[in-house]
Structure formats: C-alpha cells, structure tokens
C-alpha cells in the first residue's frame, strides 16, 4: 500500500517530467553483462525468456488450429505478414497446457511462435544474477534470481531448434 501510495502520489506531470528528463541526459552506458529478459508465466509459475532470443511479442493474435498429432502444436497465426506455427510453451517445458493463447512470443532463431499464459514485464538483470542449471530435457539451463525468487530461463533458441527439427522429422516421416 505504501508503494501504491508512492506511485499514486506521483502526478502525471511528474511522470512526463521523468520521461522527458531521461532524454535530456546522456545515454547511460549499459552494464556490459546486462541481460534483458521477458518475464512470463506458465501454469502459474514464473519463467523468463532472453530478449535477444525473441523476434517480437504479440498479443491477442488469432491462432487457427490445424489437424496434427502433436499436442503442443496449437495452430498457425499470421504475424508480420507471415504464417508461423504456434506451440504451447507450457507443454514444451513440461507444464500443464496453456489455458489460452493470449500472448505469443516469436522466436528469433526460427519463425516459430510460442504461446504463454501471461506476460509479466521486461526484466533487465546483471549477468551475475544468472545461475546455470542442469538441463533436464526441458530447455532450461539457467535460473535468474530476482527479488528473492528463482525464475527459470527457457532457452528459446534450443527450443525452436528442437521443435523445428521435430517438425522436419515429421515432415520427413510423412513423405
């Protein structure tokens, strides 16, 4: 409530002033090991995705289901003029299936979109805040600790490569 009161105590003019003030100063040099993450939630648990591994975040895009034997494959969606397959990120990391496909994260590695339950916010951490973790087959090799809470970081590139390889394999099998 105190935080709420502090935010509420700031008038809009203060926000505008802070915004303008940011442009009045010289660009602050980013920390050399600063890492940008996107905080998401899968099945209610916090996860993170490296910003560098994403090509974009989209909301409320229509996902058209297609017949498939792959459970994680939700369908296809039109993003930036291209049709991209959409996979359920929660199922891919061993979680319960996503209840909706409100949020889509487009992988930079391949034109594959991953649906997640919720988008929290962009997170910028120092590299020291990341800790490696043994991969258990769920494409999580690092864990970011922030605010006393561990947030697994999904290796989106690895995941896209795996999904792509599996798709290719399925395509090969089908031929």
């Amino acid at each position: 409530m105190t935080n709420t009161m502090s935010l509420m105590a700031q008038p809009a003019s203060a926000l505008a002033e802070a915004f303008d003030h940011a442009f009045a100063l010289a660009p602050a040099a980013l920390a050399p090991d600063a890492i940008d993450l996107i905080g998401i939630r899968l099945g209610g648990d916090p996860f993170a995705i490296r910003l560098a591994e994403t090509a974009g975040v989209f909301v409320d895009r229509k996902v058209t289901p297609v017949p498939t034997a792959v459970a994680e494959f939700l369908g296809i969606a039109g993003i930036r003029g291209a049709l991209v397959p959409v996979y359920d990120l929660a199922q891919l990391v061993g979680r319960t299936p996503a209840k909706n496909v409100h949020w889509l994260v487009l992988a930079r590695q391949a034109p594959i979109a991953f649906a997640c339950d919720a988008f929290e916010r962009q997170i910028r951490l120092a590299g020291s805040a990341l800790a490696p973790r043994a991969d258990t087959g769920q494409h999580v090799r690092e864990v970011a600790t922030m605010d006393g809470m561990a947030r697994p970081i999904i290796d989106l590139s690895s995941l896209a490569a795996t999904v792509g390889a599996r798709a290719k394999a399925e395509q090969g099998g089908s031929k």
Binding site: T4, L7, M8, Q10, L15, A18, F19, A22, F23, P27, D36, I38, L51, A52, T54, A55, G56, V57, F58, V59, R108, F119, R121, Q122
Partner: protein
C-alpha cells in the same frame, strides 16, 4: 248443636231458645190471662149485671106488687103514682134487658117477661079502674086475686125463668172462665216444665260440650304451651348463637371495612400512579413520534446515501472501464516498447538510441501499467467499499425501516399503554368509588348487624318472657283443666 259452633254461638242459641220458651210462656200466660180476664169481665160486666138486673127486676116486681096492694088498700093517688113509677122502672128494666139480650133464649125470655108484664099491667089497670070506681077493697082484692094473681104468678115465673137463665149463664161464664184459667195454668205449667227441661238440657249439653271442647282446647293449649316452651328454649339458644354469630360477623365486617378502606386508598394511589404513567406514556409517545420523525429523516438520508453510493459504484465502474483502456494502452505500449527494444537490438549500433527511447517508453508504460493496476486495485477497493457500504446502508435502511416499524409499534404500544392506563385510571377510580360505596355499605351493614344483634338480644329477652308466658300458660291451662274437669279426670289429664 254443631261441633264447629263457637261457645258464644252455642250459649247464644241455648239462651235464645230458653228466652224463646220464656217469651212463649209469657205470651201464653198473657193470652191465658187475657182469656181469664175476658171471661172474668164477662162474668163481672155482663153476666153479673144481667143477673143483678134480673134480681132487681124481681125486686121491682115485688115493689110493683107491694105498690099495687098499697094502692088497693089505700086507694091514694100517691100510691097509684108510685105504682106507675114502679111500673115505668119495670118497663125500663125490660127495655134494658132487651137491649142486653145476647142470645135468642134471652130475647125469648125477655119477650115472655114483657108479655107477662103487659098482661099484668092490663090486669092491674082493670083493678085500678075498679078501685077508682069505688069498688070496695074486698071486691077489689077478690078481683085482684082472680085477675091479677095468675098473671102475677106467670110474670113471676117468667122472671124466675129469666133469673134462672141468667144464673145459668153466670155459672157457665164462671165455669168457662175457670176452665180458661185452668187451661192457661196447664199450658203455662207445661211450657214452664218444658222450658225447665230444655234449660236443664241446654245446661247439661253446654256443660258437657264446653267441658269437652274446653278440655280438648286446654289439652291443646297445654301441648302448645309445652311446644312453645321447647320452641322458646330452642329460640333462646338460637338467639344466643345468633348473638355470638352476629358479634363474629360484626368483627369480620369491621375487618372488611378496614380492608375496604385500604383498598380505596390503594386504588387512589393506583389512580395517581396511573395518571403519572399516562403522563409518562404521553411523553414517551411524543418522544417516539419525534424519534420516528428523526428515523424518517435518517431513512431519507440513508436512501440518498444509497443512491450516492450506487452512483459512486457506477462511476467507479466507469473509471474501471477507462482504467482498462489505460491499462490496455499501457500494456500495448509496453509490448510495443519491448518489440521496439527487440528491433533496436537487431539494428545494431544505430539502434541503441532507439533502444533507449524504447526502454524509456517501456518504463513509462510499466509505471502507467503499475499505476493502472494500483488504480484498479483502489477502484476495486472503492467498489468493494461501495458495495459494502451499499449493503451496510441497505442493511441500515432495513434496520431503519425495522426500527421505524418498531418505533411505530412502540408508538402504538405507547398509545395502547396510554389508553390502557386511562382505562386503568378509570377502573381504579371506579374501584375507589365502588370501594368507598362498599365501605359505606359495609358501615350500614355493620350498623344493621348491630341493630340485628340488639334485636337478637331483645328477642332473647322476649324469648325469656315467652318462656315465662308459656310456663304461665301451662299453669293456667292446668288451672282451667281443674276447673272444667273432675279431679280424677284432671289428674288423669
């Protein structure tokens, strides 16, 4: 005489009968005496004078004979005048006898006398004429002897017959008078005997009847006096018990009088308290009315508050809608800034400045989003509070309605209390009045009881007198019984 006749009636009938017999005997005696007097008067006034006249007529005849002889001897005119006078007296006597003749026999006898008298006069007149002619005495005497003496004898015989007749008439009248007197004596004697016998019978009958009835009545009087004594004794004991009971009743009524007065005082206090309660009830009613008016005002204000709160809820909902837009914009801005950052990162060095702008925009969007969340939270709090307030207010409104109804009930209850207290006051006053009247009545009853007690005492005293009177009556009845009955019977009775 009948048994149911009274003594006076019986005695009156007896005395009347006796008096009737006496009167009848007197009447008979009077009638008999009148008959005797009549027969006696007839003997004295009729037969006696007729006998006397007859006797006188014989005497006159003797005088007539004597006078005629005297004239014959003397030849004097005086003797002749005397003879004529005597003759006239004789004729007058015959006339009287004719007028007094009361029977045919008497008329015949008088007529015979008169006839003989006329013959005698004629004979004597011839002799007188002889004497007047100077005839000598012996011749005259001889003529007298031849002519007058037979007629004189016949006249004397007629006179004798008439005297005899009158003597017989006189004797018959005397005999009849004597018989009448004897008959009257017999009748009077018989009536006297009958009257005496009847008087004896009446006396005996009355004596027996009166003795029997008076004895019976005395027996009744004795039994009645005995019963009266017993009743008087019982009445005396009853009067004593009644006197005791009346004293107890008087004591109880005195206590009742004291209780009635206490009730009257209590009723008066109850009336006063009821009047005070009625005043308090009216004050409470006014207070409740004012409170009801205040509750009505509160209810209207609560309705206004509810309306304001509902309006506030609607405004909050509208704010929420606007806030959704703001949050959506912030989210879109955030996504846009993330995508810009992603694009800037892909643009290499030239994209750093754009990355800074995108980062600032993202920060601003984050702040706006956070603020929108906070505002949403606040709006939710406000809406929750509004809902809570509305519910509480509705509850309060219902409570106010219930309170208003309850106040109405309380006001009605106060009015009912006031009415009941008024009724109670009236009832208490009526009780007080009734109790005072009751106390007055009880005092009157107490006085009446005292009078009854006094009367009971007097009755007790009179009962003693009655007892004494009954004893006296018993002794008197014994005396009467002894008076009307023989000693043996009296003792037996």
């Amino acid at each position: 005489m009948r048994r149911e006749w009274t003594f006076g009636r019986k005695i009156a009938v007896g005395l009347t009968t006796k008096g009737f017999l006496t009167i009848m005997m007197a009447v008979v005696a009077f009638v008999a005496l009148q008959a005797v007097v009549t027969s006696k008067d007839k003997v004295i006034n009729v037969d006696g004078p007729l006998m006397v006249r007859a006797t006188q007529l014989q005497t006159v005849r003797q005088q007539l004979v004597s006078g005629f002889r005297s004239y014959l001897l003397s030849g004097l005119q005086d003797d002749l005048d005397s003879l004529l006078t005597t003759r006239k007296a004789f004729a007058d006597t015959i006339t009287d006898l004719k007028s007094d003749a009361n029977s045919d026999d008497a008329v015949k006898l008088v007529a015979a006398i008169e006839q003989q008298f006329i013959g005698y006069n004629n004979a004597t007149d011839q002799i007188v004429a002889l004497r007047k002619n100077g005839t000598d005495i012996p011749t005259a005497l001889a003529a007298y002897k031849d002519q007058v003496t037979p007629i004189g004898t016949a006249l004397s015989a007629a006179l004798t017959d008439y005297v005899t007749f009158r003597q017989n008439e006189l004797i018959a009248s005397q005999t009849a008078s004597t018989r009448t007197a004897q008959l009257a004596e017999i009748v009077i004697g018989v009536i006297a005997v009958l009257s005496t016998l009847l008087a004896v019978f009446i006396v005996l009958y009355l004596t027996r009847a009166l003795t029997r009835q008076i004895g019976t009545a005395i027996g009744h009087v004795q039994s009645s006096s005995a019963e009266l004594q017993s009743a008087a004794n019982q009445q005396a004991s009853g009067m004593k018990e009644q006197t005791i009971s009346m004293n107890e009743i008087a004591t109880t009524i005195s206590e009742l009088l004291a209780t009635s007065r206490q009730i009257a005082e209590s009723s008066q206090r109850v009336a006063q308290i009821a009047e005070q309660t009625a005043g308090s009830a009216r004050t409470g009613d006014d207070t409740v009315d004012r409170a009801n008016q205040s509750i009505g005002s509160i209810r209207r204000q609560v309705d206004q508050i509810v309306n304001h709160m509902l309006e506030l809820g609607k405004k909050s909902q509208q704010i929420g809608s606007v806030l959704d837009i703001v949050a959506e914009l912030a989210e879109q801005t955030n996504i846009l800034s993330i995508n810009a950052t992603i694009e800037a990162a892909g643009a290499g060095e030239s994209g750093k400045r754009f990355a800074i702008v995108a980062d600032e925009i993202r920060k601003l969007a984050d702040r706006v989003g956070a603020s929108a969340k906070e505002v949403r939270s606040l709006i939710e709090d406000v809406r929750s509070s509004v809902n809570t307030t509305v519910m509480a207010t509705e509850t309060g409104s219902k409570a106010v309605d219930a309170g208003s109804r309850q106040f109405g009930d309380v006001a009605q209850a106060f009015r009912s209390i006031a009415a009941l207290v008024a009724t109670t006051t009236e009832a208490a006053r009526e009780i007080e009045l009734s109790t005072k009247q009751q106390a007055t009545a009880v005092e009157q009853v107490n006085m009446a009881i005292a009078n009854v007690t006094q009367a009971a005492r007097e009755t007790e005293a009179s009962t003693s007198q009655t007892l004494e009177t009954a004893s006296l009556l018993a002794s008197t009845s014994n005396e009467l019984l002894r008076m009307v009955q023989a000693p043996a019977q009296s003792e037996a009775a």
